[in-house]
Symmetry: C2
Subunit: 350 residues, 2 copies
């Protein structure tokens, strides 16, 4: 039982050479200017083997200047109970890519501020700096911190589109706009002419993309844009009224912004006796889910979350490896259409 691990110098001493020689031999850096004959090398290797020498990774990374860590920062808890299904696929992709590239992942867990929200800066210090670069994930409460990151040129990649006024940042995002256009196409192809948009009141980049896609999709199918068909409501109470109004306006189909909205909408429809998809076709602008009783599966598209996570890591690594600080890059990933049971041709008017 040896009380302390052998150091580089221990090996050097045993082999009767300098520590530099040991380092060079062990790391196979014996090229060009440096020449060590085979027998000396063997002597070093034997000594290392005899002592069971293992280089200290900490000292190594200090000497090499990089620590091989990629940080993962989420604005909510990384393993949240409620967001579970949301974050998980991203992490899956991140982990896989990190593994492929030989990076380790650093999860920032010491940054909580008490109210559950997490902050990048604590006491004015950027905690992300622990790692070579970081992946950012989740809904930020303000753009200030991101702005600050940009200013101090810390390498990071966002998952999900983010726009920061005055500066460009790297991100990997789902191509919501195209996917929405495609969904409108499907509805139009089915024969729908008046397609409503039902969304939340929030304004985030990804929601804006969907709304943009909606307008593009209408235009692409030569359908007129009617502002009355765009319904950004959050209150449950007037939902029934809003729904009736839409139907009265001749709406036969609607795209719904998010899962939760679709969920409550579904219930409202049931209460009002509106048949899906007979009376109203629905397209979900996001990952479809089935109804509780298994009779209904949403039509929509699936968001390539795992891919987004992986690409974010690749993007970050690319930036880290680049000698010159290169331009930020954005990657839009294609969403896969999902055929469900909520789209049907419109009922022929009597």
């Amino acid at each position: 039982m040896q009380t302390k691990r052998p150091r580089l110098t221990d090996v050097a001493q045993l082999a009767g050479v300098s520590s530099a020689t040991v380092s060079l031999v062990i790391n196979q850096r014996v090229t060009g200017n440096v020449r060590i004959p085979a027998e000396t090398q063997q002597r070093v290797l034997d000594a290392a083997a005899q002592l069971g020498y293992v280089a200290d990774p900490v000292a190594q990374s200090l000497a090499k200047g990089r620590n091989g860590l990629i940080g993962v920062f989420t604005f909510e808890a990384i393993f949240p109970v409620t967001q579970r299904d949301f974050y998980y696929p991203f992490l899956l992709g991140i982990e896989h890519a990190a593994e492929t590239l030989g990076y380790d992942l650093l999860l920032y867990t010491s940054t909580s501020v008490g109210d559950g929200r997490r902050r990048i800066y604590r006491d004015g210090r950027n905690r992300l700096r622990l790692a070579d670069g970081a992946i950012l994930l989740g809904t930020e409460s303000s753009k200030e911190e991101i702005q600050a990151l940009v200013e101090e040129a810390y390498p990071f990649v966002f998952i999900g589109r983010r726009e920061v006024p005055g500066s460009e940042i790297s991100y990997t995002a789902a191509d919501y706009a195209s996917a929405t256009v495609e969904l409108i196409d499907r509805l139009a192809t089915a024969g729908h002419r008046r397609i409503a948009y039902i969304g939340a009141e929030n304004v985030t980049e990804s929601l804006l993309d969907r709304r943009r896609g909606y307008k593009q999709g209408l235009a692409a199918n030569a359908l007129p844009l009617d502002a009355r068909l765009i319904c950004l409501c959050s209150g449950q109470k007037d939902e029934r009224i809003a729904l009736q109004t839409l139907l009265a306006l001749g709406v036969t189909a609607a795209v719904v912004e998010t899962g939760p909205i679709a969920y409550t909408l579904l219930h409202t429809c049931r209460e009002c006796g509106i048949q899906i998809p007979a009376d109203l076709s629905l397209g979900l602008l996001g990952d479809p889910f089935g109804d509780m009783d298994g009779t209904l599966n949403f039509s929509g598209f699936s968001i390539p979350r795992e891919e987004m996570g992986a690409q974010a890591v690749y993007l970050l690594a690319e930036g880290l490896d680049a000698k010159t600080s290169d331009q930020p890059r954005q990657i839009a990933l294609h969403c896969t259409p999902v055929t469900g049971s909520t789209i049907a041709p419109p009922r022929v008017h009597p």
Copy 2:
């Protein structure tokens, strides 16, 4: 726009002090022999904030042997698709505890060996050493690596009981033995006298605990131990026969080792026309799950996974803080009984 992260010396220069002063102030080591007036300290803190300084964990750990990181090592991928529901609660607890204690989490992702299995030692080097200590999780393929960890005195805590011949290690485990005893109690109280044990062929610590609990439970209820009632089978094909044999031996209840086994058992019973729980009461020695058609919920106990994760972190942190290398500790956590619908009094014989 500064291209590289600020160093200790940058802060020192800006504050007009030495780097030693900065280090002392930032780490709150201003005690005893060292005196720095409040205003100077403030100056240092301001400078650090202005530059966004964060100590390099690598340099820190090289210099003082600690870096505030807790490693999380799993022998399978950390975010595995299939094991998802299994690992997740542990991570939840780990994250929460780490957050409470102010540690960051380091996920080892670069240690894969190609066959999907992960190894602690790569090229003979202990990758864990990057963090102060580590939480180990999952099913190890061999005890060699653990043994090696013990020998080099690296601090770690296993989640799940592990025994390593010749040395004692720290772990947090579910108290399977007690929970099993309690489940046997429930069956005995319901009137069962001949209770079978249905398990796998594997031999892991936690399975051994259940088998031990089974015997203890029988003894506690003054029931005889009949070796024929212990059925450690893995083959599906003879399951029906085994089941019939058990029933022929007068068995009216059984405890089942794991979920997957219970799942197939359930199907076998259906095929054979055995009613659960009328013909046979079942107790699951683990987290119960419902049947697909919602008609049946297993009786069993729930494993405090989140708590296990959290306690592991606390245990590890305790060991790290201890000046003297203290003894390994083991924590057994209580499992909560779950009342399902698979236990009923035995059918009264005609």
